[in-house]
Amino acid sequence: MTERPLSPHLSVYRMSRYTLLTSIVNRATGLVLSVGLILLVYWLVAVASGPAAYNGARTVLSLGVLKAVYVILLATFAYHLFAGIRHLIWDTGHGLERAQAKRSAALVLICAILLFVGLAWWALHAGARAP
């Protein structure tokens, strides 16, 4: 495999272009959300394992490190959601012109930031009444 010639890639692309950036960020956020799925199932299994096991899992899930993970998950969810909707709109054949794609890339980012800030604000207030 390694002997086969490889066309020059990565280095020949301008990484700062929004097309490349939105594509790779969508993929990266998807991977992060897969980790989120593991956390979700861990939590569900803990609930199913009874109150004692759940309290143990809750101690783990309340770790400071995981709180940072939840913030990242919230942000990646917000981005992946709108980037995914952008892809679904593309699938219908709309918004594929260069100017439109550039506009929708910005729109995805703005919507994602707004949703993230809104959800984080809500989570903070929910966290205040129920840790």
Binding site: M1, G30, S34, L37, L44, V47, A48, L88
Partner: protein, 128 residues
């Protein structure tokens, strides 16, 4: 214009109609995940407490259990499709690629089954 190769035309090979399967299921699960994830985040943040009694009572409601199971299944399937493409792109060597893809698939099946069974157990009143 035809996209079939001359050899395929001569041999009479048509489309197996499976070429778009990955693409289609990825779209199908993504469409399902929009309302499911929205419902999950809103429901979770609306819960008055995260203690065991509150959470198990919440999962014990029929529609909560239904949506949670659908969420786990759709998310696991969508995740499997996404991670598969990443592995196909970045893991080189036929053996390593096949092995990692198998592990990825097994892992997602375990996650999906564990998630669904956990919800069912709580919903059917087994989490005492």
């Amino acid at each position: 214009m035809t996209l079939r190769s001359p050899l395929a035309t001569v041999l009479g090979q048509g489309s197996a109609k499976e070429g778009v399967h990955h693409w289609w299921v990825q779209r199908l699960t993504s469409v399902a995940l929009v309302p499911l994830t929205a419902w999950f985040v809103v429901s979770l943040l609306s819960l008055p407490s995260f203690d065991h009694a509150t959470i198990s009572a919440w999962i014990g409601q029929l529609w909560t259990a239904v949506f949670l199971i659908l969420l786990v299944l759709a998310a696991a399937w969508h995740s499997q499709l996404g991670v598969r493409v990443v592995v196909e792109d970045y893991v080189h060597g036929h053996g390593a690629k096949t092995l990692v893809l198998a592990l990825v698939t097994f892992f997602h099946v375990v996650v999906a089954v564990a998630g669904v069974l956990a919800v069912l157990k709580v919903a059917l009143g087994g989490a005492g």
